[in-house]
Amino acid sequence: MMSDVTTAPTATRAPALAGRVKAAALLFVLFALLPPLASALNDPFYVLIGTRILAYAIAAMALDLILGYGALVSFGHAAYLGFGAYAVAILSSYGINDMVLQILGAMVVSALFALVTGAISLRTRGVYFIMITLAFGQMAFFFFISLSAYGGDDGYSLSQKSTVLGTDILHSDYGLYYMALGLLAALFLLCNRIVGSRFGRVFTGIRENATRMEAVGYSPFRYQLTAFVISGCITSVAGVILANQAQFVSPAFMSWHRSGELIVMVVLGGVGTLAGPIAGAAAALLLEEWLGVLTEHWPLLFGLFLVLMVLFSPRGITGVLEKYGIARGKE
């Protein structure tokens, strides 16, 4: 009797977890099929935009880790895209071209920035948290604007793509695309483990009711700060990919519009689902592409779409899919 009750949580839990992983696996398969499809259609442009989608998917998923599971709405997450991008630019100007080292550098800087700004921001709640993370994001933005050695607000062109452990697989657009896909899949599995871990349960519990968590012996701050740092580090990986894709870095990577776009991707895909924001990034960037062809006033149409989405499916794309029983990824 005891045993069948205790094994039940894994039984009730498993479908939710499997749903999230299944939805992500499906997305990854679709992503993997895109390059052959693009070359069959003789439209290699889709590989380029696909790479951008994968990069933003990493960033949106990282933001969802704290926004969805911790109710921490960071409005300054584009700063970490910038740290990733400038890690490529600055390190390569010193002859360090390997992506592994560039990602490492980006993560170190991001971790420090997240640690300091998170420690201050997490003393506030709600709207104040949003505003103070925005302020720190803008500080990073203006720092790189004034960094004249790397072009200031004109940006900085990269002379070469990163190498990966000495190989030049990123030199082909396909190589970079599949590298981005591999990183996205690996980071998704990482986030998925974190969410289901002891740490993840405490972090989610703090979202549910911080006072209750304090009353059983947890200090919310330590857990929130740790998650904030993890999220920042993962986001910076997206910046490294974007710099390699564009062969150019500029402070525009870290403007507050970009931070807003990341939030839109999370909301569009489904808050607190991890897989949802990946789809959200794809939907947002593809809509931007397609609507941009139709009219130069595309943001108006995009805004309309977003409003309708929030009104009719508050849980985003995930919500739509759940309604038709296709995916069940809710935590």
Partner: protein
């Protein structure tokens, strides 16, 4: 088991003295009830004892150790836990997860990022045991937001038990619970007697007189009397301030 000692505790909200020089000695294993009319400052006192609310002056000690300067999480780690008058749970978690996360706080590091916590038998078993003691094990896998009010009160108790308290502060555990449910709840609390020291705030006088070893009466933030339930019942000052008033209300 541990003693709870409160010395000259005060708390002011502006000009209002909510806790006015409260001193209290609760013996090891005792059930000490605090009664008083609405607005007497009972919940404020519990919040000060638990560390949720800082005190303006005075001292709190458990088992002779001063905890006045410690935060709520730190006090919980030392064995001073509270339950809430207004149900405070994790609504999106199942009942079992609500309790398991409390067990986890006392067993090993929570900075583990990879192993799936839902499969930790140790946590689930301990959580289920606490749910059983609170009489909620049959609802272990129901989302807390879907539980009834009476079940929330039991979940609140199970969570408090899971923190392995030495001193448990119960803030109106029977709030909104009536009839047979209330009787079962009182019987349950009675079984815990001797396992840990309890401070019980309760409006249900039947429950108070059935459980408490001693009773303190709080009126306008001051303790006006402390004694055995019999002594309190016959104390004229108490009757005037509280019990009489209550009887009039009932009548």
């Amino acid at each position: 088991m541990t003693t709870l000692s409160v010395r000259n505790l005060t708390k002011n909200f502006g000009a209002l003295k909510v806790t006015d020089d409260v001193s209290l000695e609760v013996a090891s294993g005792e059930i000490h009830a605090i009664i008083g009319p609405n607005g007497a400052g009972k919940t404020t006192l519990i919040s000060q004892l638990s560390g949720q609310l800082p005190s303006d002056s005075g001292a709190v000690a458990i088992g002779g150790q001063d905890v006045t300067g410690l935060s709520m999480p730190e006090r919980v780690k030392l064995g001073l836990a509270r339950s809430f008058q207004i149900t405070s749970i994790l609504p999106g978690f199942t009942a079992l997860e609500n309790v398991a996360v409390a067990v986890q706080a006392r067993s090993g590091s929570s900075f583990r990022f990879f192993a799936p916590v839902a499969q930790e038998e140790e946590l689930n078993d301990a959580a289920l045991a606490a749910l059983k003691e609170a009489g909620l094990d049959d609802r272990a896998h129901v989302r807390a937001s879907a539980l009834s009010h009476g079940e929330h009160r039991r979940l609140e108790l199970a969570i408090a038990l899971a923190t392995q308290p030495k001193v448990l502060l119960l803030d109106e555990p029977l709030a909104g619970v009536g009839g047979e449910d209330a009787e079962a709840f009182v019987a349950r609390l009675k079984r815990f007697k001797g396992r840990f020291t309890m401070v019980l705030i309760e409006h249900d006088m039947e429950a108070v007189f059935a459980l408490a070893d001693r009773v303190s009466v709080l009126v306008y933030g001051r303790i006006i009397a402390t004694g055995t339930p019999e002594a309190i019942r016959s104390d004229p000052q108490v009757r005037a301030a509280y019990l009489g008033e209550e009887e009039e209300e009932v009548a």
